[in-house]
């Protein structure tokens, strides 16, 4: 019997040290099939919120202000990601510090991690941790992503509600016209709204959202906040926005529809991640050989990997 089997039992009855041990296994890439069966055993499809946006706009500070109200009537899991150095392999996890005393709330469980391994591991680790929280009967999960910008399309499939945080420095009208995060966030927040430029950014965003495809009845709100260590000005509006979006998803049945899409991507990313790990075992990227045709070489490698797996 694997040692984690007893941890699952304890975690299901709410022991925080057992919950923590399971999260650590997820973080460190445990891949035993039975382990995943346990994770998904009674996955209550927990309501998840993702907070995303460029680095330094105040995601962690906003998380700190959202935490208490969200944990008011339910257990809240918070998952915070920070980048890992590709040079040293180390990471500085600086999200928890913003939480201050709220970290000791009896219904808040906060876990930070830095993705390692395949480029998809951030998504997969966060997603799997969220599912574990669901299995352990938490009521809600808040995911704080890495600083994100123009190419993180997978984030839209990470959670039920995606909140994009920007700051007045995030850019002008031209930036907002570019596609990416701006296209699919459910709620927009301009944090540090006491700084010059907030109103202009609000106007530029509003123009973009007017043109957003009308296939959904959801009108994404644009909210102005000022989140510091002491105060969370405007945060009550954000809570309200999140609750409204949750209601909207439930009433329209979108929540199920979206989860189906999200799960499909989750499967794809698992497959890609497994392929990546397999490839990394057979071949080092830094190999000192120049290929005339990297595309052809990739095809050869893929054949090799899948052939080996069949054996």
């Amino acid at each position: 019997m694997k040692i984690w089997q007893s941890w699952f039992k304890d975690a299901l009855s709410g022991h925080p040290d057992a919950i923590s041990r399971i999260l650590t296994l997820i973080e460190r890439g445990e891949d035993h099939p039975q382990f995943f069966q346990k994770i998904y055993q009674n996955d209550f499809q927990i309501y998840t919120i993702a907070l995303t946006g460029p680095t330094g706009v105040g995601k962690s500070s906003l998380v700190a202000h959202l935490a208490e109200p969200l944990a008011d009537y339910q257990h809240l899991g918070i998952i915070a990601m920070d980048p890992r150095s590709s040079i040293s392999g180390g990471a500085f996890l600086g999200d928890r510090i913003r939480l201050g005393d709220k970290a000791h709330h009896p219904r808040i469980f906060f876990r930070s991690f830095a993705p390692k391994g395949s480029p998809f591991s951030g998504y997969l680790t966060a997603k799997t941790m969220a599912r574990a929280f669901g299995t352990f009967r938490f009521g809600c999960v808040l995911i704080e992503t890495l600083g994100a910008g123009q190419s993180e399309w997978a984030i839209q499939h990470l959670a039920d509600t995606t909140v994009l945080i920007l700051s007045p420095e995030s850019g002008d009208e031209i930036q907002m016209m570019k596609r990416g995060l701006v296209e699919w966030a459910d709620i927009f927040v301009i944090n540090k709204a006491d700084r010059p430029g907030a109103k202009q950014l609000e106007a530029a965003l509003a123009r973009e959202l007017q043109n957003r495809a009308n296939d959904s009845k959801w009108k994404p709100p644009i909210l102005l906040t000022v989140a510091t260590a002491q105060n969370g000005q405007g945060v009550e509006k954000l809570i309200e926005g999140i609750e409204k979006h949750h209601q909207f998803l439930k009433i329209t049945g979108k929540i199920e529809e979206n989860r189906l899409k999200n799960q499909n991507l989750e499967c794809m990313l698992w497959a890609l991640s497994m392929t990546w790990n397999q490839l990394s075992k057979t071949r080092q990227i830094s190999e000192k050989k120049l290929f005339k045709n990297p595309h052809q070489e990739a095809q050869r490698l893929l054949k090799e990997v899948f052939h080996e797996r069949k054996k």
């Binding site: 973080e27 040293s88 500085f92 510090i97 970290a103 000791h104 906060f110 876990r111 991690f113």
Partner: protein, 136 residues
């Protein structure tokens, strides 16, 4: 009992009690990060309860405390007690700061894994942790 044969090390760094001097601990944080570890910094003025709770939730292998205030005997005893209470027996407790050699001896006897005084080269701490937790 430390966790042995880990692939990587996750460590929580904290300043405990009424002590706001965090230059040193940030130097350590950078050094450990650059040595390939996952470093969580909780900030200044943390209570022992808060530190142990954070260590539990974050699933760290090591807790590192910096103390320059003179309260090390109280703080470390409390931390040891709380670690036991929370069943975090395999989490290493280490620390550094203005610590008289006699106190270091006492605390290490009580169960603090390792303590260092001022002017310790960061490499010494890195080597110690790697030797203690990673496979040879």
């Amino acid at each position: 009992m430390a966790r042995k044969g880990l692939k990587s090390i996750k460590i929580l760094l904290a300043k405990a009690g009424l002590d706001g001097h965090d230059r040193g601990i940030k130097v350590i944080a950078r050094a450990l990060r650059d040595a390939g570890m996952d470093v969580i910094y909780t900030g200044i003025k943390q209570t022992p309860e808060g530190i142990v709770e954070a260590a539990l939730q974050e699933g760290v292998d090591v807790i590192g405390i910096s103390i320059l205030s003179g309260a090390h005997m109280t703080i470390f005893s409390k931390l040891l007690k709380l670690l036991k209470k929370k069943k975090l027996n395999e989490v290493l407790l280490i620390g550094g700061g203005i610590l008289p050699p006699d106190d270091i001896q006492k605390l290490e006897k009580m169960g603090v894994d390792k303590l260092w005084g001022p002017d310790t080269p960061t490499q010494e701490i890195i080597n110690y942790l790697k030797g203690r937790l990673l496979p040879p």
